[in-house]
């Protein structure tokens, strides 16, 4: 079988973070997380519920745009995905822009539901392929959603892990810091350190990220590719190895 490519690795890493979830929701423009959620569903023989916004076949919501947020508030969503134009070492994310506010030099689309879902979904997985000091900064210019909150602020959700094209970090909520968990094959610790703008914890020996086994690759290149094609046809055509 053709060896696993980078996208397949990322999908497999993220699917591993969804273990034990009952319901995973995936936002717009998220083909990699979407594929990961579908893979995790396959592994639970369909018991895991996956809601892919904008999908018809995998979207069970009938109460309009507010339902995702109500559903999260009811504790019925265990995992969700967020990204950031900037992500800092305290788990803060910035989806607004850099270089001042409101007259930002670089402006992104906006905070979407991050300032809410980050508080209410137990496992928020931060996913950003670009692993550079431009993205992973010491302190974000604008906090769309904070990584942690003081104890008097009601909060059951927050960052759970950060996945990039170089590595997997887990977030330690008590310490409010990321810990490097594994480095993807073909990359090394120096590369991660050079390209990360924030300080993080790490074990003495950082293990390599496990590559997906043959059974996983067969799932990805077969049924998952087909299922994700409904929402992301172009992604399905080029993301997976033959």
């Amino acid at each position: 079988m053709t060896p696993c490519n980078e996208r397949e690795l990322l999908i497999s890493v993220i699917a591993g973070l969804l273990d034990g979830c009952r319901h995973v929701a995936v936002g717009a423009s998220s083909p990699v997380p979407g594929s990961a959620a579908l893979l995790a569903r396959h592994r639970t023989h369909g018991r895991l519920r996956v809601s892919i916004l904008r999908s018809l076949r995998n979207n069970f919501f009938t109460n309009g745009g507010v339902e995702l947020f109500d559903c999260a508030a009811q504790g019925r969503i265990d995992a969700f995905f967020l990204s950031g134009g900037q992500i800092d070492g305290a788990g803060n994310i910035n989806l607004v822009g850099t270089g001042g506010y409101p007259q930002s030099e670089v402006r992104w689309s906006g905070s979407f539901g991050s300032a809410y879902l980050y508080f209410l979904v137990p496992r928020v997985i931060l996913f950003r392929e670009e692993h550079t000091r431009r993205v992973l900064v010491d302190k974000v210019d604008f906090i769309s959603a904070p990584g942690t909150s003081p104890p008097n602020v009601p909060r059951r959700g927050g960052p759970y892990a950060l996945v990039t094209n170089l590595a997997l970090f887990e977030f330690d909520r008590a310490r409010g810091r990321f810990a490097l968990r594994s480095i993807h094959p073909g990359h090394g610790l120096e590369e991660v350190l050079d390209n990360t703008g924030f300080a993080f914890d790490r074990p003495e020996q950082v293990p390599p990220t496990p590559v997906p086994d043959e059974a996983t690759l067969a799932l990805l290149r077969g049924p998952i590719r087909e299922e994700i094609a409904e929402t992301y046809p172009e992604f399905a055509a080029r993301a997976f190895a033959a």
């Binding site: 009938t62 309009g64 930002s104 979407f112 980050y118 769309s144 602020v153």
Partner: protein, 277 residues
């Protein structure tokens, strides 16, 4: 029963005056693009956009056309084609007033207006810089849990809600299906104007299946029939987004000149070729 059906899209948007506080839906919920083109042709000014809870091409074009004074939104995004380029440029120039929000806050503030409430509480947000820039949002101590802060959002009551839907009937009932935020928008707004793909003779309220997804005429002021009225944005259950046109816009609108050239074509053609009868 008043006369709901307008002669054409220009007649529909005639009631949207300069300075209107205008509620518009997200890219996936039924965007009235033909109506937006009509508004831009007419040269509308000083709109206060309330994006429910985000917007895309619609807000970006209105901003580029100089029709917008302020934008309350959780995002301005062309989805896979990136952030709205005219929005980015207007932010850089400081030519629009920004009211950055988060999606559930806009839903909640509209629900406050829908219920005639002065405010709605909302979880989350505390610690976000959004709060520092929204002097209209308040944080109070939750009266039911000492020392626990909670955000209160003042009601958003737009003057006009404007959207596009697949179907209406002659009584003025509009099929909104699962897109319940359109009902909230309409009830929260003083007036609601809707363009639709098709107007049918039979009442949508005569069949309980249709009725369950229907916005009653009670909340609707005017309707106009426009085939492919959301184009080049897509319409749920009807047609997808026209990626070719959106990509072309995203490229062109990076510059003032590119935007102007794109808009000349867009406003003249008005509707997609395949929609001509």
């Amino acid at each position: 029963m008043q006369q709901m059906i307008r002669a054409d899209i220009d007649a529909l948007v005639a009631g949207i005056a300069d300075g209107t506080r205008l509620a518009i839906p997200a890219n996936y919920a039924g965007v009235a693009m033909a109506a937006t083109a009509a508004l831009i042709r007419r040269g509308v000014r000083d709109l206060h956009l309330v994006c429910v809870p985000t917007s895309g091409l619609q807000a970006d074009m209105l901003i580029g056309a100089g029709a917008v004074a302020s934008v309350e939104s959780s995002a301005v995004t062309l989805d896979e084609f990136g952030t709205g380029p005219r929005f980015v440029e207007a932010v850089r120039r400081g030519s629009i007033r920004l009211m950055d929000a988060t999606c559930p806050a806009i839903h909640a503030a509209l629900q406050a207006a829908q219920k005639g409430l002065p405010f709605m509480p909302l979880r989350g947000i505390i610690g976000s810089d959004l709060l520092n820039h929204r002097s209209d949002w308040k944080v109070i101590d939750n009266p039911f849990a000492e020392g626990e802060p909670i955000v209160l959002l003042p009601a958003i009551a737009p003057d006009v809600a404007l959207f596009h839907a697949p179907l209406a009937d002659r009584e003025g009932n509009v099929w909104i299906g699962r897109r319940r935020e359109l009902l909230t928008m309409a009830q929260a707004s003083a007036r609601t104007l809707v363009s639709v793909e098709r107007i049918q003779e039979e009442s949508l309220l005569d069949d309980e299946r249709w009725a369950a997804g229907t916005l009653p005429a009670l909340y609707v002021e005017g309707i106009a029939e426009v085939r492919k009225g959301a184009w080049p944005v897509g319409l749920w259950d009807s047609y997808g987004a026209d990626g070719r046109v959106l990509a072309a816009y995203a490229r062109a609108a990076r510059s003032d000149e590119g935007f102007a050239a794109f808009m000349t074509d867009f406003l003249e053609s008005g509707a997609p070729a395949e929609a001509a009868e």
